[in-house]
């Protein structure tokens, strides 16, 4: 019989807490580098100045241990749990939520979650619940990814149930329509996660998962890498620019995640991410 590794869920709470705080204070290196590179490439003087402010802002946040943005986001957790791990000491999801509660409270992060969304919209006061996507995988490790997802960019995202006859050209147009309609709202320069295939629930999750990739990385699949490059060039040709004030650097990266779909369907989701792409990763 294979040996089972025990892991106390308190370790999960501690890891989630740390990720919530560091994601919000320390802009990841890949994003910081993309902002510096974008500032050099930007043709608009106003746009260049915006990039300068964003780099300075990231420096202040890191130095003073304050959030990069006041919207410290919805805590989105992707968890991959090795099937040889036995979680002990409590409920997994409760442990994740406890980490979010502690991180957002002790880290002076804004609590931005409202319960009874359609009517009362009462603030839950500790930024819980988190959105948790859990997968069971081979092995004896637990991997966690934390994303602090701001509301302004999330609101500009779209789900597109396209007709198969529309093809790739139809998808490109739907992505461009989404970005164009969003304009200055999602705090460009943006990052775009595209989900293709699956069902309405799966395609949006793929689009979100795509945003976990590091800026500057190229898709391992050359076909998808070419699709990403085409979308990036076409988005940047829109002229929206940093903060929507006009410019050549609207988008820092496009990431696609794909899976097969029903013969009658061609689902595509666009998850819009602001320049404050706050994501952390830990292996337990």
């Amino acid at each position: 019989m294979t040996s089972v590794r025990e892991l106390d869920v308190q370790e999960i709470t501690a890891a989630v807490k740390t990720m919530c705080i560091t994601a919000n204070y320390d802009l990841p290196e890949d994003v910081y580098a993309a902002l510096e590179k974008g500032g050099q490439a930007e043709e608009s003087p106003v746009g260049k100045a915006v990039f300068g402010q964003l780099v300075e802002n990231a420096d202040i946040a890191r130095r003073d241990r304050v959030p990069i943005c006041q919207d410290t986001g919805f805590a989105v957790i992707f968890a991959e749990i090795g099937q040889e791990v036995h979680l002990v000491g409590g409920d997994f999801e409760a442990a994740v939520n406890e980490g979010v509660r502690q991180g957002y409270t002790d880290g002076y992060l804004r609590k931005s979650i409202a319960e009874e969304p359609a009517q009362a919209r009462r603030n839950t006061k500790d930024n819980t619940p988190a959105v948790i996507h859990t997968r069971l995988v081979p092995g004896d490790r637990v991997e966690l990814w934390m994303m602090a997802k701001g509301g302004g960019a999330e609101n500009m995202s779209s789900l597109n149930m396209l007709k198969p006859s529309q093809g790739w050209a139809g998808m490109v147009q739907a992505v461009l329509d989404t970005v164009s309609r969003a304009g200055s709202n999602p705090c460009p320069p943006i990052i775009i996660g595209v989900g293709i295939g699956g069902t309405i629930d799966k395609v949006t999750q793929l689009a979100k998962k795509a945003l976990l990739r590091d800026l500057g990385s190229t898709h391992a699949d050359e076909r998808l890498a070419a699709m990403e490059a085409e979308l990036l060039a076409k988005i940047n040709a829109l002229g929206i620019g940093p903060q929507g004030l006009g410019g050549t650097q609207t988008c820092l990266g496009v990431f696609i995640e794909e899976m097969p779909c029903h013969i009658a369907s061609m689902p595509m989701a666009v998850n819009v991410q602001c320049h404050a792409q706050r994501h952390k990763h830990v292996v337990l």
């Binding site: 802002n57 959030p67 002076y108």
Partner: protein, 184 residues
């Protein structure tokens, strides 16, 4: 281009001197208010009740800060998406509001109200909340503390940086800037 320094409360003359694309540095008092606060302000106006601050010449900042750490005036304090306040903005302008600071697109109705009532919409850099907080030197909650980050606060700012997006002549920097850099 050097930034224009402006001091609140704003007069019609100041508003008329501003053009889309102008960089400004704002000093004086501005009022923090976002979704829930706007809903309440408009309800007060409609019922004829007094408002928690003087609207004549006022500048509203669409913002909900993160909590202030001990010893800090305010937490991170960048703009939120202005479009969510579009339903309320024309009513506030009709009652004296002269300036709005936020980020993102406004509706034609809001832009029309800015022409009619001589008001200006300025964008601060979204996602630069740590940087912008350094220009906020005073912070006092004056209404709805129970709303947390959505409360109304009286903020004192010094050289707060913004750029004029919509002026009182109908110009729109978002449209003009984009046109300039769009490649067919």
């Amino acid at each position: 281009m050097a930034a224009k320094k402006i001091v609140t409360p704003l007069t019609t003359e100041i508003v008329e001197s501003l053009r889309a694309g102008d960089e400004v540095q704002i000093s004086g008092v501005i009022y923090q208010a976002r979704d829930a606060a706007h809903k309440r302000l408009v309800a007060l106006i409609e019922s004829g009740a007094p408002l928690p601050f003087e609207l004549e010449g006022a500048v509203v900042y669409y913002m909900g800060p993160s909590p202030a750490k001990p010893g800090h005036v305010i937490g991170s304090a960048g703009p939120t998406t202005s479009g969510r306040m579009d339903a309320y903005a024309p009513t506030l302008m009709a009652h004296g509001l002269k300036g709005m600071i936020g980020k993102g697109l406004r509706t034609p109705e809001v832009k029309q109200a800015m022409i009619e009532h001589k008001a200006v919409y300025m964008a601060a850099t979204g996602g630069a909340g740590a940087l912008l907080a350094q220009r906020i030197v005073g912070n006092e909650t004056i209404a709805y503390p129970e709303l947390g980050a959505e409360a109304i606060a009286r903020l004192e700012v010094k050289d707060f940086p913004a750029i004029v997006v919509n002026d009182c002549y109908g110009a729109d920097l978002y449209e003009e800037g984009r046109k300039k850099y769009a490649k067919a």
